[in-house]
């Protein structure tokens, strides 16, 4: 029996938003990406709703929307670190050094090539298998492994020579 679109959206939206936020590192962009995708899903619900793999399909739409947004927006992608944002606010007693390591890593994740970043989110946030990641990214399992291993070596290297700019 077919769910209604409303039912489907209400059940999935929290997870989709969290996933998109981890993917984009930007809650507001994630909001627009998810909103945009769900409007399209709603429009084509007769077809998408009947798919056995509709969850994968919707997730793939989100990834594609994110990848294409980045492509069109190649000129400038400002992703402020938490430290930069904190600097805007009222100064407060600062437990920031606890987060410094994580913040530094975040700033390197943001700079990764977009497909590498997407592969990392699918592996480490969604716990997807290489096979699933390959389907979602539309590439081979070998390519997935290479994306992840390159991303990891970049991040490990940056980790050993921490960049001070985020502080």
């Amino acid at each position: 029996m077919l769910d209604t679109f409303d039912q489907f959206a209400a059940d999935r939206i929290d997870r989709l938003l969290r996933f998109a936020t981890a993917l984009t590192c930007d809650p507001h962009l994630a909001q627009d990406v998810v909103q945009e995708v769900l409007v399209r899903v709603q429009h084509k619900w007769d077809r998408i709703g009947a798919l056995a793999a509709r969850d994968m399909y919707v997730r793939r739409m989100i990834i594609n929307e994110y990848l294409s947004w980045r492509r069109r927006k190649a000129s400038r992608n400002i992703a402020a670190t938490h430290s930069t944002l904190d600097a805007l606010g009222t100064p407060t007693a600062d437990p920031a050094h606890i987060y410094a390591e994580r913040d530094a890593l975040r700033s390197h994740i943001i700079k990764l090539p977009r497909k590498q970043r997407a592969a990392l989110v699918l592996r480490y946030y969604e716990d997807r298998s290489d096979q699933e990641i390959a389907e979602l990214l539309g590439c081979s399992v070998g390519t997935v492994r290479s994306h992840i291993s390159r991303a990891l070596s970049t991040l490990r290297a940056s980790h050993q020579h921490p960049v001070r700019e985020a502080l």
Binding site: A22, H28, L29, D32, Q35, S75, L85, L88, G89, L152
Partner: protein, 325 residues
């Protein structure tokens, strides 16, 4: 396969990121309220825009009202030449789904000076309803609840309101023959349709709408959008002096709802005679606060009250409209 330290940190980073997700109810409402034909309708990002309409409506519509009043109505004009009555009006801009994306406290002081104070829509209020973002209150509990919240937060006895439906801003900017603004840097964004060069430019129609909607690709997102709204309002106010008002009224008619007790005529007088205009945003703390309703903005009620109280003694805006991001 055990994760090493780097992999564990990566997991932590993504978990932290995911926790910053916005409130899903807002997104669901937008998806449901959206007409499928408009591919980039941006119901939510629309936001701030609307206040412009309200400002103009309070500014302009009643003024013409007065002009068309027959000369016999002398008692009315005498009343408005008396000393200014301090008035506090909450101007609220809603999108088509009924979320309040712009909340602006308009204060007319006894000395005739006017302040427009923006309250960011994501302000987190831990003591209200067991914790809520400002933009949730109107949709859930209505305008009286929102008025009470703003009274508590600012310490200002807000007695009146104007609620404005999203619409008409493009036409409004057209109606005044375009509004001059100035940008620090060129920017383009496909979600809002924004496409602007650097420096001074006059915007109207869809470009005006996009200017006030854009938050992606700006250094401080929604806060930059508030700065844009404020610059736009200041510039619009200049433009309205001496503008042909008939088309302006046609553009905004039907989009504004006020409380029955608001004396729009007197308010319009006060606004048009304003000796000085101050445009400000309440002081804010952490702008990426993790809340049960997604990423929010911390506000300290004591600081806000102090700021609002002290505002009349700060220097008013000069004639120059600042360049914005």
């Amino acid at each position: 396969m055990a994760n090493d330290r780097t992999e564990q940190l990566i997991k932590d980073v993504f978990t932290d990121e995911a926790a910053r997700a916005v409130d899903s109810r807002e997104v669901l409402a937008a998806v449901r309220g959206r007409r499928p034909r408009r591919s980039y309708g941006l119901v939510l990002a629309a936001a701030a825009v609307v206040v412009v309409v309200a400002a103009v409506a309070t500014f302009v519509v009643p003024q013409v009202f007065e002009r068309s009043t027959p000369p016999a109505a002398d008692d009315q004009s005498q009343k408005t030449t008396q000393a200014v009555t301090p008035t506090n009006v909450l101007v609220v801009g809603t999108d088509t789904a009924g979320w309040t994306d712009s909340v602006v406290l308009t204060q007319v002081a006894a000395d005739g000076s006017v302040s427009l104070i923006s309250l960011p829509r994501d302000s987190w209020l831990p003591a209200t309803d067991g914790g809520t973002k400002l933009n949730q209150i109107y949709a859930r509990s209505g305008i009286e609840a929102l008025l009470a919240t703003v009274r508590d937060l600012t310490g200002v006895p807000v007695d009146h309101y104007a609620v404005v439906d999203m619409a008409a801003v493009g036409e409004l900017a057209d109606a005044v023959g375009g509004v001059p603004v100035c940008l620090n840097a060129a920017t383009s964004d496909r979600y809002s349709g924004a496409e602007f060069g650097t420096g001074e430019q006059t915007i109207a129609g869809d470009a005006a709408l996009a200017f006030l909607r854009q938050r992606h690709g700006l250094p401080y997102g929604d806060l930059d959008r508030i700065a844009r709204l404020q610059a736009f309002l200041q510039s619009l106010a200049v433009k309205l002096k001496g503008a042909d008002l008939a088309p302006v009224i046609a553009a905004v008619q039907g989009d504004v709802k006020t409380d029955p007790g608001l004396d729009v005529l007197a308010l319009a007088q006060d606004l048009t005679n304003a000796k000085s205009l101050r445009v400000a945003t309440i002081p804010i703390g952490e702008i990426d606060l993790s809340t049960p309703q997604g990423s929010g903005i911390a506000v300290d009620p004591a600081q806000v009250k102090q700021f609002v109280t002290g505002l009349p003694s700060t220097p008013p805006a000069t004639g120059d409209v600042p360049c914005v991001n």
